[in-house]
């Protein structure tokens, strides 16, 4: 398929991996920031094509994962309200709050709908004038323009029965939080391609300079990720640290200026809580006061909802790159996509879910949990690799 197959070519992949092996002299820890990148890495088995001492750790860029439990509980409280049509992107529906998920609320009679574009909510609001439509506006800078457009049009077109529950987060403050942590292991970043398509990448320059860390803004196809990894390792090996653009077919330094203008008209930067990480100052967006009539947090009585994050789940450490999914004793045993104990297992973009779906046949050192699931499989593959029609992978 055009524009996809070119970026999934096994021969080119091997060439890039060979080049990485040729130039790499030391072990390196590189974090891919986006959930979409994590998904692609694990779905395609990319981490196992790389040299063993090039470690990819999975960053905080899954919007579903980092939405705090408290905000999910607020969403659920609103979705349970009378005369509300609660609209959300699909993968938020399965995220468990303190008492079930949005599917459960739907099964109990709540009107919960999946939308593909936030602007669909305008149509739904107009078609249901006696109901109040709430859109769960979550995500990073990537989804911010479309969500901002919904608030903008709701106000301009006086659609009074429509509001947004906003839980928007920003990438640069999260990278700073990771780099400032005394436990930090990350030496280079694959930067967030889609986020930078909106915002450009100039705002990463100060981070790269201040923390002396290479940031390579990278795409999402297998070859993008391998290429971004190669570019990062080149910088690390040469002792350079700068911001580079692997995803030049999509984005440039300045980004999408009309989108940025719209974001700034609708949102203002504010403190935000991140699931598993905690409060990060000035790390998200909230609606400006001019949009108060479309701010669900102000319209519904949810301010008192304050939920503690569970202590047992290690998703916070996973999101900061300190631990990997199979460091968790619950991974694959007590915690699975059927029984998600933390948000990194819920969304397909979450590191735990991606590991579970695509990588649980692999045996990490000392990962008891994996042996419990598939002793014969993991032992076999550890010993023999996978063979198809007699050909070794």
């Amino acid at each position: 398929m055009k524009y996809l197959d070119e970026y999934r070519d096994e021969k080119v992949a091997r060439k890039i991996v060979d080049e990485i092996r040729r130039i790499q002299t030391k072990p390196w820890v590189i974090m891919e920031v986006c959930g979409g990148q994590t998904h692609s890495i694990v779905k395609n088995g990319l981490d196992h094509l790389l040299p063993e001492d090039v470690e990819l750790v999975h960053g905080p860029g899954c919007p579903v994962c980092v939405t705090p439990l408290e905000m999910i509980d607020k969403a659920h409280a609103i979705a349970r309200s009378q005369n509300v049509i609660f609209c959300s992107f699909g993968d938020m529906l399965r995220v468990p709050g303190s008492d079930g998920d949005l599917f459960t609320i739907k099964s109990q009679g709540g009107d919960v709908r999946i939308v593909y574009s936030p602007l669909d909510c305008l149509k739904i609001a107009r078609a249901n004038p006696t109901k109040h439509v709430v859109f769960f506006a979550i995500g990073f800078e990537t989804t911010a323009p479309a969500n901002a457009m919904l608030a903008w049009r709701a106000r301009e077109e006086q659609v009074t029965n429509l509001s947004l529950l906003v839980s928007h987060v920003l990438v640069p403050p999260a990278l700073e939080a990771i780099l400032q942590s005394p436990e930090n292991r990350v030496q280079g970043f694959l930067g967030p391609g889609h986020v930078c398509a909106v915002m450009g990448y100039s705002e990463y320059d100060p981070i790269s300079v201040r923390f002396n860390v290479p940031i390579v803004v990278t795409g999402f196809e297998p070859l993008d990720i391998l290429h971004g990894t190669l570019m990062t390792i080149q910088q690390l090996e040469e002792g350079r640290s700068t911001v580079e653009n692997q995803y030049s077919r999509v984005l440039d330094r300045v980004g999408n200026l009309p989108a940025q203008t719209l974001i700034n008209k609708v949102f203002e930067v504010s403190d935000r809580k991140w699931r598993g990480i905690g409060n990060i100052p000035m790390s998200g967006y909230r609606l400006r006061d001019e949009f108060a009539r479309h701010d669900a947090e102000k319209l519904f009585n949810v301010a008192a909802i304050a939920t503690l994050e569970p202590e047992i789940c290690i998703s916070g450490e996973i999101l900061r790159g300190i631990k990997k999914p199979h460091d968790c004793p619950a991974f694959g045993t007590l915690c699975s996509p059927q029984h998600p104990l933390g948000a990194t297992m819920v969304s397909a973009e979450g590191a735990c879910a991606a590991y579970y779906a695509y990588g649980r046949h692999l045996t990490p050192p000392g990962a008891e949990g994996l042996h419990k699931i598939v002793p014969s499989a993991s032992a076999h593959i550890a010993a023999n690799g996978i063979s198809i029609n007699g050909e070794r992978a």
């Binding site: 503690l308 059927q338 593959i381």
Partner: protein
């Protein structure tokens, strides 16, 4: 580490009764649904859970316990295949078919997957008050045509009408019966290491045709449902060799809800075998691939209504494949992998880029990703 069996929800700030959550209680296991959720009907793990916990304990018997798509009954020496299926698709008319055609093909295919010759069907209609009679006529005419093509007859039926808002235009349940010729022995538990896995053609067409209609998504190049009756293709496959003792066709399944991935996992679990697939051999149309990319879905989990997966002995696999490729509904058939003795119950796939990954059962509904 001790694991509490009494799982509690997340405590709230200021809740005096709140205790530190026991291991395994964060934030909430959502598997034990108190109500039916849509995922229970998706054909994935939630459906399997419902069957195991609600239906099987009540109805348990050796025939049902096989959990094939049809029951095989031996009555006075004759072997009959017997199956039933309900159809609730929305919209009722879609590119490449409608609910009526689907109701015929679905049940005929469930019979065909045992190697049976489908003979007779029943049809039960649940109609919503307000349904246009012309729409019903169109659906029924479509069923007539599909039944005629498939060589089956409707011999009994039932009609009920529910209040407006209590149904969704039209629900159809069809039940079918067919005869299995002597010697044919096809069941999900018969996959053996060394067997080859044959897929009859492009995957994901039906599911993406429905989704693009349902959600008003417009993709370049219309995607049409693949819905078709497969018993003719199965008869040709069985005719690859007249020698019954060859016993080459071990399992057949039509990968409907849950798609190819879920179906292969079911066979692997039932037969206690592993499977290895090669991603680049699995045929997916560009239009389907593109639509799946846009929505963040995986075509291997998308429903098909006119495809089959066959598990065939290695000696006969090439011959069966050739026979399939001569049939209109099998002309794009390919061998996509093989059954192995290792990693029982697990399906592994070599990815296009050269890595490997697990292909798991679908959990509930496939959900479009956020970005």
């Amino acid at each position: 580490m001790a694991i509490s069996g009494d799982v509690k929800g997340e405590e709230k700030v200021g809740d005096e009764a709140a205790i530190s959550p026991a291991f395994g209680s964060c934030p909430l296991p959502i598997f034990e649904h108190k109500q039916i959720v849509l995922g229970h009907g998706s054909g994935g793990k939630l459906t399997a859970d419902l069957i195991a916990k609600v239906f099987l304990p009540a109805f348990k018997n050796p025939i049902l316990d096989k959990l094939d798509d049809q029951a095989v009954l031996t009555i006075n020496g004759a072997r009959l295949a017997f199956t039933t299926d309900s159809f609730v698709v929305s919209p009722i008319f879609f590119p490449g078919g409608d609910i009526g055609r689907l109701a015929v093909h679905g049940t005929v295919n469930d019979l065909a997957m045992s190697g049976a010759r489908p003979l007779y069907l029943s049809a039960a209609f649940i109609l919503e008050e307000g349904l246009a009679v012309d729409d019903l006529r169109r659906v029924v005419e479509s069923m007539r045509a599909a039944a005629e093509e498939a060589g089956v007859q409707f011999v009994t039926g039932d009609t009920k009408v529910v209040n407006r808002g209590k149904g969704d235009q039209i629900f159809i349940t069809t039940t079918g019966i067919g005869v299995i010729d002597g010697g044919v022995n096809i069941s999900a538990d018969r996959a053996r290491p060394g067997d080859q896995i044959i897929l009859s053609g492009y995957v994901g067409d039906h599911g993406m045709a429905i989704m693009s209609q349902r959600e008003n998504l417009e993709f370049e190049g219309a995607i049409e449902s693949d819905c078709a009756s497969l018993h003719g293709l199965v008869a040709d496959m069985l005719a690859t060799s007249p020698a019954i003792e060859m016993d080459f066709l071990h399992c057949l399944r039509d990968p409907t809800r849950g798609g190819v991935a879920t179906t292969l996992n079911e066979i692997a679990t039932r037969a206690g075998v592993g499977m290895t697939l090669r991603e680049q051999l699995i045929p997916v149309r560009d239009s389907v691939k593109g639509a799946c990319e846009v929505l963040g879905l995986d075509p291997l989990y998308v429903a098909n209504e006119g495809k089959l997966l066959a598990i065939v002995s290695s000696e006969m696999a090439e011959a069966v494949l050739k026979k399939m490729q001569q049939h209109q509904l099998g002309r794009h058939a390919v061998i996509i992998g093989e059954v192995v003795g290792n990693h029982p119950g697990m399906v592994l796939m070599k990815t296009e880029i050269g890595g490997t990954r697990v292909l798991d059962v679908m959990f509930g509904e496939q959900l479009p990703r956020i970005c």
